[in-house]
């Protein structure tokens, strides 16, 4: 029962807010904060008696019987931390908007609460219909958040964001319906159930088309190079709260979707496409870092750094081994904390100076020592300093990539995509992230305090410090004691890989009906890519 509770509690809050008069701003803020906090506290209830490998707290209610739609929610080790990340960040973000959002407070709070419901629902959905509904629900409030409370070019940015996302998600809908129909052809029952549909094996060509449709939706969301150009615009124009949620949670849906849906549903296609995914992600790492280095707008710089960080995640996912995928999931969390923190921090300075241009700043350390310390820690977390959140994920992805199979499958593979070479190129991201992040840090905080408008800047207030304290705590926790998180992630990832390895061995000839993998695994699983090549 805990899952529907945390999914709909924010929505209840949103409904309640509609009853409060719009003039009562402090009551509105308080109520919204209360609901997000309550959601967070309740979501902590997921942690005890949690079964890492399988789905816990599952509820399965019939929703639309005629279509075989069930309201089916569940949480495993992969989604657990993402849900907690969402519920953890929401109160922080709402609290931080106390001074920055002044127009249409009620609508803003409602949008944020609806967004939270949408995000949690998407992470928890175990029914493709429900997944799609939540996926689209979360788009709408984000559109309004960028479009109403954003910067000067907010309309352009919000429309770009929505159109980009819609293109992908509509193709995904087609693929969902396709697999739904094919399952009916094979079994004569209609269902959108995740477990059932994940046992459907399509022919390789069908898998490729469906994978491309799913993959495009997720690649845009990630965003994977070259589908990333919506991100800088959306980030720059969105208000701080929007940027934080966008970077910390929304981007994760792309990589989460790849891991949860695209990989288990279409394993053959995944194997074929993995080199291309990996190449695109490595290009994204280098390209995102380099382009970030050229930016003069602080927010844009961080936005491009997200492209690079998420590149590590996709690289890990395309490597098909537990280390790399663990690392990828971990990197999702770490990126949520570090980049979310960076956007929060930029919001602080933007509120004071109303500019994000890098050359306006310099020497801030003299007037804002607390702020400098906070910014420094988050920066270091972002560049992956060991002991802080960024390191573990990058390390695992690199180790996993370096030790991945010796060659790619014939056909797709090209020499350059040798996993070891990819790992070497990806590791240059470690250097490049230091290049642009320290450049940013130096330009903002070091050097003489030459701009007179920066002289009178106030340091972080206690209220602002309270916003950052939990973020810093999590940055250290993620870096120092990863076992807390990996102990839940690892079993779930192993389960996913084991199912994947069973399923990839089933081959369905073109033009034949889809087959259903028997419950509890299919043929003997493969451990290495070479074996797979021999068998096909």
């Amino acid at each position: 029962m805990i899952l529907p509770l945390i999914t709909f509690l924010p929505l209840v809050g949103a409904l309640l807010l509609m009853l409060i008069p719009r003039e009562e701003e402090s009551i509105l803020r308080g109520t919204a904060l209360f609901f997000t906090l309550a959601t967070f506290v309740i979501s902590l209830g997921l942690l005890p008696d949690f079964d890492g490998a399988n789905f816990s707290h599952v509820i399965d209610w019939t929703w639309i019987e005629a279509l075989g739609v069930h309201f089916h929610l569940g949480v495993d080790g992969i989604s657990l931390w993402l849900v907690l990340l969402t519920t953890f960040l929401m109160p922080i973000v709402l609290f931080s908007t106390g001074t920055s959002i002044t127009k249409k407070v009620r609508e803003f709070a409602i949008a944020m609460l609806v967004l939270e419901s949408g995000m949690i629902g998407t992470f928890l959905a175990l029914d493709l219909f429900v997944f799609y509904v939540f996926w689209e629900i979360m788009l709408i409030p984000m559109y309004f958040i960028i479009g109403i409370w954003g910067g000067d070019r907010r309309v352009y940015a919000s429309i770009k964001f929505v159109l980009y996302t819609m293109v992908g998600s509509l193709l995904m809908l087609v693929a969902i319906i396709y697999i739904y129909v094919r399952h009916h052809d094979a079994s004569n029952t209609w269902t959108f159930d995740y477990f059932t549909l994940s046992r459907v094996v399509l022919s390789t060509r069908e898998q490729m088309y469906c994978f491309l449709a799913f993959g495009l939706a997720f690649a845009i969301k990630v965003p994977l190079f070259p589908f990333h150009t919506w991100l800088p615009d959306a980030h720059v124009e969105a208000p701080t709260a929007g940027s934080v949620i966008l970077a910390a949670v929304l981007l994760k849906f792309g990589t989460y979707g790849l891991l949860r849906f695209a990989m288990p549903f279409f394993p053959r296609a995944m194997v074929e496409m993995a080199p291309y995914l990996a190449i695109a992600s490595v290009i994204g790492i280098v390209y995102g870092s380099l382009v970030a280095f050229a930016q003069t707008d602080i927010k844009k710089m961080i936005a491009y750094s997200s492209v690079a960080h998420l590149g590590f995640v996709v690289l890990g996912l395309s490597m098909w081994n537990a280390k790399a995928i663990d690392g990828a999931v971990y990197q999702m969390l770490a990126h949520g904390i570090s980049t979310g923190g960076l956007f929060l921090a930029i919001g602080v300075i933007y509120e004071r100076r109303h500019t994000r241009r890098l050359e306006e700043f310099g020497g801030l350390m003299a007037v804002m020592p607390r702020y400098t310390a906070v910014f420094m820690i988050i920066t270091l977390a972002s560049v992956g300093l060991p002991g802080l959140s960024g390191f573990v994920g990058e390390f695992l992805v690199l180790v996993g990539t370096f030790g991945a199979y010796k060659t790619w499958p014939h056909g797709g593979p090209i020499f350059y995509a040798h996993p070891k070479i990819l790992a070497v190129v990806a590791a240059t991201g470690v250097i490049l992230s230091a290049v642009y992040m320290l450049y940013l840090f130096q330009k903002m905080f070091f050097g003489p305090l030459s701009n007179p408008r920066n002289r009178g800047l106030k340091d972080l207030s206690n209220r602002e410090l309270a916003v950052f304290a939990p973020m810093l705590l999590m940055a250290f926790w993620l870096g120092l004691y990863p076992s807390t998180f990996l102990s839940a992630i690892d079993p779930a990832v192993r389960r996913t890989i084991a199912e994947f390895q069973h399923k990839v061995m089933i081959k369905v000839p073109e033009g034949e009906k889809a087959r259903l993998m028997p419950e509890g695994g299919g043929p003997e699983p493969v451990k290495h890519k070479e074996e797979l090549d021999d068998k096909f």
């Binding site: 209609w190 150009t229 380099l290 573990v392 250097i431 305090l449 990996l486 690892d490």
Partner: protein, 710 residues
């Protein structure tokens, strides 16, 4: 394996750092100093008691405090364990011992600085990170410290952040170090993919795997070694990544002494020795280390000859001495039965260098303290009268680094020179051209190092004479202000000077005094001695040659600089202006890197953003959007606004759909034409339902299934 609470060793300074950074400003300087010093002293005491245990038996000490799983993912199981064996104990003693001395010194040196508490916070943080680096029992734990010291180095170089140059130097140091970290990170990934472990203690059982051929006929150990070497060259400032260290002198002088001379920069040497078993699999990797070390040694020494900044000279000297240590690590003797290298010499030099180089840097700090921060040696001179303690200790350290018998530098430098002379990277008796090279490489490196030693003696005494002898070349007002440093600083200088004189006696080779090599014996459980057959006669021959080189360097320096810049010096500089400028500007290496790497990186970044990102990728997106708008503009004319046109269009559309479905046979196989033709016959076949009794057949038959869709 004996238990020892090793985790307190790094945790004490880390706790001190946390206290200084969080509460330092509130509690004031006195308490900050007390906390910072006590935490370092405490961990020093712990190290001392651990060393006493190690003295009794060489079994490494372990600590299970951190040994619960740290990272567990798939088949990767990492525990953050600490271990202290005899090798790391040497480093630990240097770090805590010299670290404590430098803390004391800094309490005097930084006394009037605004960022006093911040400084001690960073310094303690550094101590903690360095101790983690040294104590780590696996590569990832070492890497935590490795990056931690890099961070502290960055923070401390840019400690006076309001100067753009300092901040640039800090950033340069961090980024160049990151290039090294890149190598280290990949080395870990590679090692794990080969052996499935990252623990140092488990390496020896995987030598078989590491020896297997990987690519191009070379064993995996070679590639692993090169990756580690990339990391080591970054941290230990070797060619090609040495450029950050001279700039790092922008930081406060105690930092230069502690981080950029005595401890952090030797981490590369330490890690190479730590992983020695992997290097020994393929001795040519060791040859590469030795070559890099020798080239760096000579290269940096020649730059040092003409520098005018007090600390810059010392910085290049540090780079050069680290090159010596690398040669020591790489001087392998390969016999058919075993591969041994001169690790002991390298670590010995690491230790003596820590003393005399820290002494030199702190002496430089004392000089600059006296001159209100002036670091240009052309504006010094005659300081010997005003700074007696500084002068005496500086002279002792100079003699030590020049390798004058019987000071510590003599013994350690001789160990490295002798090791290089004896080195043999391929077994004796094998033939071929490359073998000839491998056999004689040792001699070549020896000669390079000999030249470097002469150079070192020359520039160190040039520095010494220019600063302490002759007439003062600054203004009268500066002269008036000169004062000897407080006792907290000179006391430390004396301790270090005594160390610089004395620690060498720990490692007197056995051929000179039997059983005199306590240092070598101490390390023996970790690394074997280089298997050189050296007689006392050979040793003294080499020693006399080395002493001659040093004496020549000192003599030349005295001749040219005893009374300030002599006329000969000016004449030479005038005679070869281009050579002079070339060397003075450090061979334009910084400019070269700037032109070849840094600027292109900026252009590429800008190009990728403006051309690829904004123009091509986003351009494509906007093109799609623009096309939609254009189409919309054209089609808009169909919207007349007149309801009649819409209705007509609708009806025409409906007719078209109907017509098409009839024409194409309808949807789902329903044939409209057939349906119409069979309608009548079906009517006649069907019974009239009205006549059926309502009991049997319902009026409205139940619809099967659950809905229309099915």
């Amino acid at each position: 394996m004996e238990e020892f609470p090793l985790h307190y060793i790094p945790l004490l300074p880390l706790a001190g750092a946390a206290f200084c950074l969080l509460f330092g400003k509130r509690v004031g300087k006195t308490i900050t100093t007390a906390v910072a010093l006590c935490s370092v002293f405490g961990s020093g005491l712990l190290v001392a008691s651990a060393v006493r245990l190690l003295h009794e038996s060489p079994v490494p000490l372990t600590d299970t405090f951190f040994s619960a799983t740290w990272i567990s993912a798939g088949d990767l199981q990492l525990s953050a364990g600490l271990t202290l064996d005899r090798l790391s104990s040497v480093l630990c003693m240097i770090v805590t011992g010299i670290g404590f001395l430098i803390h004391v010194y800094a309490s005097g040196y930084m006394a009037h600085d605004e960022g006093y508490t911040r400084f001690f916070g960073y310094l303690n943080l550094f101590m903690g990170a360095m101790l983690i680096l040294v104590l780590g029992d696996s590569m990832p734990v070492t890497f935590v410290g490795w990056e931690g010291v890099g961070l502290c180095s960055y923070l401390l170089i840019g400690f006076w952040y309001d100067k753009e140059a300092n901040a640039n130097a800090g950033r340069k140091a961090f980024v160049v170090n990151r290039i090294g970290d890149f190598g280290f990170l990949l080395a870990m990934a590679y090692l794990f993919s080969l052996t499935g472990t990252l623990k140092y203690a488990e390496l020896p059982s995987h030598l078989q795997t590491l020896g297997q051929t990987a690519w191009w006929g070379l064993p995996a150990a070679f590639f692993f070694g090169i990756l580690v070497l990339v990391g080591a060259t970054g941290k230990s400032a070797q060619i090609p990544l040495y450029v950050w260290l001279p700039d790092a002198m922008a930081g406060p002088t105690p930092v230069s002494a502690l981080i950029h001379a005595a401890t952090m920069v030797t981490a590369g040497v330490y890690v190479c020795v730590r992983l020695h078993v992997a290097f020994e699999i393929f001795p040519l990797t060791l040859a590469i280390i030795a070559i890099i070390g020798a080239l760096t040694a000579l290269f940096a020494a020649t730059i040092g000859v003409l520098q005018r900044d007090f600390k810059k000279v010392l910085a290049y000297s540090t780079v050069s001495q680290l090159g010596f240590m690398f040669v020591g690590v790489g001087s392998a003797i390969n016999t058919p039965t075993s591969v041994t290298s001169n690790y002991q010499g390298a670590i010995f030099h690491l230790m003596t260098h820590a003393f005399f180089k820290a002494g030199l840097f702190l002496g430089a700090g004392s000089v600059m303290h006296a001159l209100s921060g002036e670091g240009d040696i052309t504006r010094m001179g005659g300081l010997r009268k005003h700074l007696p303690h500084t002068h005496a200790t500086f002279l002792l350290c100079c003699l030590a680094i020049a390798g004058i018998i019987p000071l510590s530098g003599f013994w350690s430098k001789d160990a490295i020179l002798g090791g290089a002379h004896a080195a043999m990277w391929l077994p004796k008796g094998t033939g071929g051209a490359e073998v000839f090279f491998a056999h004689h490489l040792g001699l070549i490196l020896y000669l390079i190092l000999l030249a470097t030693a002469a150079c070192t003696a020359f520039y160190m005494f040039r520095l010494y004479f220019l600063a302490f002898w002759g007439e003062f070349r600054g203004t009268d007002e500066e002269l008036h202000h000169i004062h000897e440093s407080p006792a907290s600083m000179t006391g430390v200088l004396w301790v270090l000077a005594i160390g610089a004189v004395g620690v060498g006696f720990l490692g007197i080779p056995d051929v000179v005094s039997s059983g005199g090599n306590h240092f070598g014996e101490w390390l023996l459980p970790v690394v074997r001695e280089q298997a050189a057959e050296e007689s006392a006669r050979e040793f003294w021959t080499l020693a006399v040659i080395a002493l001659g080189a040093s004496a020549a360097g000192i003599g030349l320096a005295a001749a040219l600089y005893l009374h300030g810049f002599s006329d000969q010096v000016r004449a030479m500089a005038a005679a070869f202006p281009s050579v002079y400028k070339f060397v003075y500007n450090k061979y334009y290496i910084d400019e070269f890197y700037n032109a070849v790497i840094v600027q292109p990186l900026r252009w590429i970044s800008l190009g990728l953003w403006k051309v690829v990102d904004s123009f091509f990728i986003d351009g494509t997106v906007r093109l799609v959007g623009g096309l939609t708008l254009v189409v919309g503009k054209v089609v808009r004319y169909a919207q007349t606004g007149d309801v009649h046109h819409y209705v007509a269009g609708m009806l025409a559309g409906a007719a078209l759909v109907f017509g098409l479905s009839v024409q194409l046979g309808g949807c789902h196989g329903y044939k409209f034409a057939e349906a119409a033709s069979v309608a009548t016959p079906r009517l006649q076949r069907m019974p009239r339902r009205e006549h059926v009794t309502p009991d049997n057949v319902p009026l409205l038959p139940a619809v099967p299934g659950n809905g229309l869709i099915r």
